[in-house]
Symmetry: C2
Subunit: 124 residues, 2 copies
């Protein structure tokens, strides 16, 4: 088979056939990345874990600067990041602020992390 029809396989010299799946839309990727960004810091990881381990997932932040070795404004900075991402709820009781972890906010990235191929929605 030295001279087949020239129109038969004009694209066979590409490295990988198929696999040009539909890319995840930009907006969806942005949303997922925002949540991951909120988790992409050791201090915030420890804060979330601390809340999750506290009773009812709620704790006040009064002891945390000392425990973590950070200043009070830095703690406020991190809690704001977590709050903006929807990962914690803020509840001001008198002078103290209590924070509650919101595991529901993790649903999106949990689904993403199940990196199984989309079952019937395969593109190629």
């Amino acid at each position: 088979m030295t001279s087949i029809e020239p129109t038969a396989a004009p694209e066979t010299d590409i490295c990988c056939a198929g696999a040009d799946c539909e890319l995840l839309p930009t907006v969806e990727a942005d949303v997922l990345a925002e949540t991951f960004k909120a988790l992409a810091d050791p201090t915030r990881v420890r804060l979330l874990r601390y809340l999750a381990e506290s009773d009812a997932g709620t704790a006040c932040a009064c002891h945390l600067p000392d425990a973590l070795g950070i200043s009070q404004p830095t703690l406020s900075f991190h809690m704001r990041k977590l709050h903006d991402a929807g990962l914690v709820a803020r509840d001001k009781r008198g002078r103290w602020v209590h924070w509650t972890v919101r595991p529901e906010a993790l649903a999106g990235i949990k689904t993403f992390l199940d990196l199984a191929p989309r079952s019937a929605d395969r593109c190629c």
Copy 2:
């Protein structure tokens, strides 16, 4: 009860009793944060999803710069980040590099994201 023993409740004016759980050790928090950092970018989220949707979780990167609208060095930069975090495996076949997603590398953060209180290991 106006004059109880002074040693009875010297700490009762703190805002929140208990809840001073053991904090997640720094090293563990760092490891988790590193993985989250690798995921904390929309381009990398799309890349991972693309690989996961490809056959056997493997694809070559030849079409990706165009598809994502980024330059080839930028793609290389992101793939390096994913590789350093252990999220993808590199496999050079001839001149082309094929990448394979490694879902095992997500085990750590998946466990973390199940933010349930440690069952019997409660601290307080």
